[in-house]
Each structure stands twice: as C-alpha cells, then as structure tokens.
C-alpha cells in the first residue's frame, strides 16, 4: 500500500527533507556523493545485500535486541509503564554498530579499500574499527585531541582493533573538528576511500542510509511491542546528538498517529549557558554537507556545543529531525548535565542497568514525563548504549576518586 500522506518517504530525490538536508559539499566530493547514492539505490533493491546485513546483525551484532519492561523504574516514577529497547546489549555496546555494518557492506560493494571515520566519544570509532577488523580493511579514525585525552579507553580499543587514531588539534579539537578533518581526508583520497559517517547527518544520501540502517531498532521494537503487549506504545523517547538512535527508533512509527515521540537534546549547563541543544537553541544553517539546525552566532559562525556526554556535544543535528520538528510530528525537549546524571543513577539503582550518558538524557526526560501519564499507558525508551565508557567521567562529576 502506498501512503499518499506518509511521513516515511523522505527525503525527496535531491536529498531534501523539506528545506533541510541536501548536498552542500565541495565540487571534488560531489561526484563521490552521487556515486554513493547510485550504489545505495542498487543495494537497497538487492535482496542479497539485505540478507548479508540481516545475517551480520543477527550473528555478529546479536540482534534482535530485547524489549524489556522496567518494573522498578515504573513503580518508582508512579505513572506510565516504561519499556526499554536494549540496544546497549549489542556487540560494542551501542547502536552505532548497526550503521557501521551497513556502510562497510556498501564500501565493499563499491570496491573501496580504505575506511575513514570521525568520532566524538569514541563509540562510532570503535564500531567502525570493529567492522574494519571483521572485513580486513584499513581504518583511520579522526578524533578531536580533547576527546582523545578524555576517552582514553576507547582510543585503546580502537588501536587494539587495528585502527589508526589521528588526533585533530584544530578548533576546539572535538567532534566537529574531527568531522572537518575526515572530510579533508576524503577529498584528498577520492579513489579508494569510503567515509563511514556515524550519525544521520552529512550530505545526502548519508542521512537517509544511516536512518535506514538504524531503523532496525524501530522495526524490531514495533513488532516486539505488538507481540508482547498487543498494541503500540503511547510515547517513544530517545536522546539526540546527531540523532541516529532516535531516528532509528522513530522512523518505523512515523505513520502511526497514536504514537507520540519525544527527542531529548543535551541542555548541558542550561539552555541559557553552554549546551548542545541545536533545535532548542540554534537555527537553520549549512554545515558538514547539510542544511539543518545549528548552534551559531549572528554571522553564521558555528559555536561549540557542550554536554557531559561527549556523544551529544555536536553543534548540529540530522536534517530529518529538523524537518520533523518543523512539521510538528516529533516533540523535542532537553535535559541538563545534572538531570542526566540523576537519570543515570536512577536506572543503575532501580533496574541494575548502567546506561551510557546519552540515554541517561532520555531517562531524565522520562522521569519528568512518566508521572504525568496513566498507568495503562506505555513509554518506550531507546537504551542506545551502555555506560562502561562513562564511569570515569561520572565518578569525576560525583566527586568520587577511583
């Protein structure tokens, strides 16, 4: 059935989600981006591609991830039932691997022999290094020097997996600068290199293909919900940096009008201070190949994002989220570093799950939302990463010395 009014048919053939998205890249990269789009169309229509993707997700990543009802958290908050999509149980500990499996299969189809990636907290870098080891391709990960220093365990993981980690010292030496440097590498190595972008952003077709690969989260969750409870959830909640885990959960539900959705941005020290909430505190602009909401000044200079979570401190957001905000299909909110830390501890204490600081933002939003809802209503939260990587920074914020 073709839904004339479907919200799931974006982007258009020029890669635009309404006024957002597009292909704002240097001329050198434009033919590469067009090649990638052509090859992705072929792969999308090729059952063999899907079969290999599905097989790797099942046997290598460990999918489907469980759908879990959280009884003690539900009881503590005293409102809606809270369910978790357990993507933190994936191989490498986060949702990032779903996308990396898809993109490396594309890279191999295209005959590319060298992989580059950017990373902030290191989760995408680790996932990329993992698939490169699995398929025997050299891997270069660009990572801001600031992040290299504060995410030492992930840097070591990437090196163990055989990746070369290149510290980037320009700008504030964080994720945005790592992405700039990865683009510079790509433009200088156009023949043999595939750029595995980690979030649902960048030039078309990246926002679309990352979303498609991450949509396994929402497709599984939707089927699991129907099978376990016999109905769809009332509200979906997910944290947002670039927005790949949230778009992966949301997208398969966009045409279900009864399902509300809440994206949770990082309010850092507060929206009136340093933060990383592009939708709440930014406005539309052009960066890294797409038009989307950006943190910027009146001249269009990009400002630095801040969050306790290194995975959320990017000054932009995937273009489909900008569009979903503008049409009002998804609600967006934000929570502060302090609230996220409280959410982190709440889940540890009530459910015996140590979440990453990224989904801790979603939990903090649920903590406010659940008590306002009836007990027969259902909230489904994407638990997109586990917190092993964050225990050192959490300890520091809680003033505990390890």
């Amino acid at each position: 059935m073709t839904l004339i009014n479907s919200l799931r048919t974006q982007p258009d053939d020029r890669g635009h989600f309404g006024q957002f998205g597009g292909r704002y890249v240097a001329e050198t990269l434009m033919p590469l981006v067009l090649d990638l789009e052509t090859e992705y169309r072929k792969a999308k229509a090729d059952p063999a591609f899907h079969a290999e993707f599905d097989d790797l997700l099942e046997h290598y990543v460990g999918r489907p991830s469980p759908l879990y009802f959280a009884p003690r958290l539900t009881e503590e908050l005293g409102g809606a039932q809270i369910w978790f999509k357990r993507d933190e149980l994936n191989h490498t500990g986060a949702h990032k691997i779903n996308n990396c499996i898809g993109q490396i299969l594309l890279a191999i189809r295209m005959g590319k022999t060298r992989i580059i990636a950017e990373t902030g907290a290191g989760q995408h870098g680790v996932a990329t290094a993992t698939v490169c080891a699995r398929f025997g391709l050299p891997c270069i990960v660009y990572m801001g020097a600031t992040d290299v220093a504060r995410q030492a365990p992930n840097v070591f993981r990437m090196k163990l997996l055989g990746a070369e980690v290149v510290p980037v010292t320009s700008g504030a030496a964080t994720l945005k600068d790592a992405m700039n440097e990865a683009l510079r590498d790509w433009v200088a190595n156009v023949d043999d290199t595939f750029y595995i972008i980690g979030t649902a952003a960048g030039p078309h077709p990246y926002p679309e293909l990352v979303r498609d690969f991450q949509s396994v989260i929402g497709k599984e969750a939707r089927a699991q919900m129907l099978s376990r409870v016999g109905r769809l959830p009332d509200v979906l909640v997910a944290s947002i940096g670039g927005g790949s885990n949230s778009i992966g959960l949301f997208h398969p539900f966009l045409d279900d009008p009864s399902v509300k959705m809440l994206g949770v941005e990082a309010a850092g020290h507060g929206l009136d201070k340093e933060h990383a909430a592009s939708l709440a505190g930014g406005r539309p602009g052009i960066l890294h190949g797409n038009k989307t909401y950006l943190l910027q000044d009146e001249d269009g200079q990009i400002t630095e994002g801040h969050s306790i979570s290194a995975g959320l401190d990017y000054p932009g957001i995937g273009p489909e989220h900008s569009w979903l905000k503008e049409i009002g299909r998804v609600d967006y909110t934000s929570v502060t570093d302090t609230e996220a830390l409280e959410g982190f501890q709440l889940l540890c204490r009530t459910e015996g799950i140590i979440p990453a600081l990224e989904p801790a933002h979603a939990i903090a939003a649920v903590r406010k939302l659940a008590p306002t809802m009836d007990k027969d209503q259902i909230i489904l939260v994407n638990l997109c990463g586990r917190g092993d990587k964050d225990i050192f920074s959490v300890a520091e914020h809680l003033r505990v010395s390890l």
Partner: protein, 266 residues
C-alpha cells in the same frame, strides 16, 4: 568591459591572489590587499573567515581562526571590500568562503551587500550546482558573478552542470585535496585546461598548491589565470607588521615569472 574581462585579456595569464579577510586583524587587511595590487595581482580574492573551513589545508585554516580570534565579523569583510573598491576602481574583487556565513541572513541580503561593496564575484566552496538555488539566483539577479570550481573529479558528463550559471572565470582546482599542500603534475593541468577550454568561453584559472614563481610560470603558459593563496597566507602569518612589503615582493616575483614564461612561448 567588465573588470573580469579586463583582467583576463588574451595573450596574458592573470594572477589571482587570495588572502583571508581579517587575518591577522581587520585593520591589517587593507594594506595587504594594496600590496597584492602593487605586486601585480590582476584579481583579488578576499576570504570570508569561517569556523569550519573544511576544504582548506592547515595554512588557511589557521588564517581563518586568527581572523575570527581577532573579532572579524561579516560587516568587517564588507567594510574591507568597500574600501578596496574605493582605492582600486578597476581591480576585480572576489569574495571566497563557505555557504553558512554567506546565506545566514538570506542570499538576497548577501548579494545586495556584495553590490553595495563593489564585489564582482563570489566563490562558495560548499554550494555545488545541485544546491544552486541557495545562492546562485540572488547573485545573478544582482549581476554578481558566481565563480564555480571544477576539479579532477568533475567528468565530462558533469561539466555542463558546473558551467551552467557560472561566470567571471572558472576556477580549476588542480588536485583532489585541500588548499596549499601538493601540486598537480603539469601534464595533467595542461590536459584539464584544454578539456575545460573546449567546453567554455569563460577564462580558466588554475589553483591549489601553487606556491612558487616557477610553478606559476609553468601554469601561466597554458591557463588564463593562476591562483595563489596559501603561500601568501604563510607570509602574512610569518611577517606580522612587515607583511605588506613581503607580500608585495612575493606577488611581484610571481607576476614577473608569469610574464617571462609567456614571452618565451610567444
């Protein structure tokens, strides 16, 4: 005759010189631009600083950051352009930069400011033909040339799209890469320029990685223009208050070498 047409007279290769506006400070830029003209630059490219210069190598990245650290605003760039136009009525002036600072107040606003300041052309690194509606129509409506980039990855099938809506000159990026690092082989430049000139009547200028008078002279034998940027930026970075004198001398050495190259082949 337009300023571009005067600058790209046949029988002579034009020298196109780039500096980042506001580097090291907005107040220092006018004297550096004057030095480019005194040294013999035929076209001046004024870079608009941006926090995230993704297509630029280390030299121009640092120039962008120095400029922004000095507090350079978009209004300063247009003030520098306005002053340049008053002092140099006949030298074509091109603004070069990234899409976000150019479009953040709307393309119409930007195009109107360009007209007021006497800017002749605009190079926007990250607006390919596919996204032309973002900036191209507004510039063309004001009679400002949109100068597009062609690269080693721009194949014959794609070239017409790049040329459609281009004017002023065509900027051939001679290497797939970022500014200021490696230089392409002369033979590949000659092939590319011949291919481009067969497809368009507008002048073809070659840039990226041109650092010495010798390189400029070689390219001047085949191209309508030679673009030099990072090598000048390096002088600005190293020389401080002496930069205008050193820049003028360097530009003069480029111009002289280019003139001799043409004389030899003529």
């Amino acid at each position: 005759m337009s300023r571009f047409a005067s600058a790209f007279q046949s029988g002579r290769s034009a020298l196109v010189c780039f500096v980042t506006g506001g580097d090291p400070t907005p107040d220092a830029t006018p004297a550096i631009l004057d030095a480019l003209v005194e040294g013999g630059a035929d076209v001046v490219e004024l870079g608009m600083p941006f926090t995230d210069p993704m297509a630029d190598g280390p030299a121009i990245q640092r120039a962008n950051l120095r400029s922004l650290a000095a507090g350079t605003k978009t209004a300063d760039i247009f003030a520098i352009a306005t002053g340049f136009r008053a002092r140099h009525p006949n030298v074509p002036l091109v603004l070069m930069g990234y899409a976000n600072p150019m479009t953040i107040r709307g393309a119409d606003w930007f195009a109107a400011e360009c007209t007021t300041a006497g800017v002749d052309g605009v190079i926007c690194v990250d607006i390919p033909p596919e996204e032309d509606p973002e900036l191209g129509p507004a510039l063309r409506a004001e009679g400002i040339s949109l100068i597009r980039l062609a690269t080693p990855t721009t194949d014959a099938a794609r070239l017409p799209a790049v040329l459609d809506g281009s004017s002023g000159f065509l900027y051939y990026v001679s290497v797939a890469g970022i500014t200021g690092l490696q230089q392409a082989a002369q033979a590949s430049i000659e092939d590319a320029v011949a291919r481009l000139k067969a497809a368009t009547d507008i002048p073809v200028a070659v840039g990226f990685g041109v650092r010495t008078p010798e390189q400029a002279a070689e390219i001047a034998k085949v191209a309508d223009g030679v673009v030099v940027g990072s090598a000048i930026i390096d002088i600005v970075a190293a020389e401080g208050a002496n930069a205008p004198t050193k820049v003028r001398d360097f530009v003069r050495s480029l111009r002289t070498a280019m003139d001799h190259a043409r004389e030899k082949t003529a």
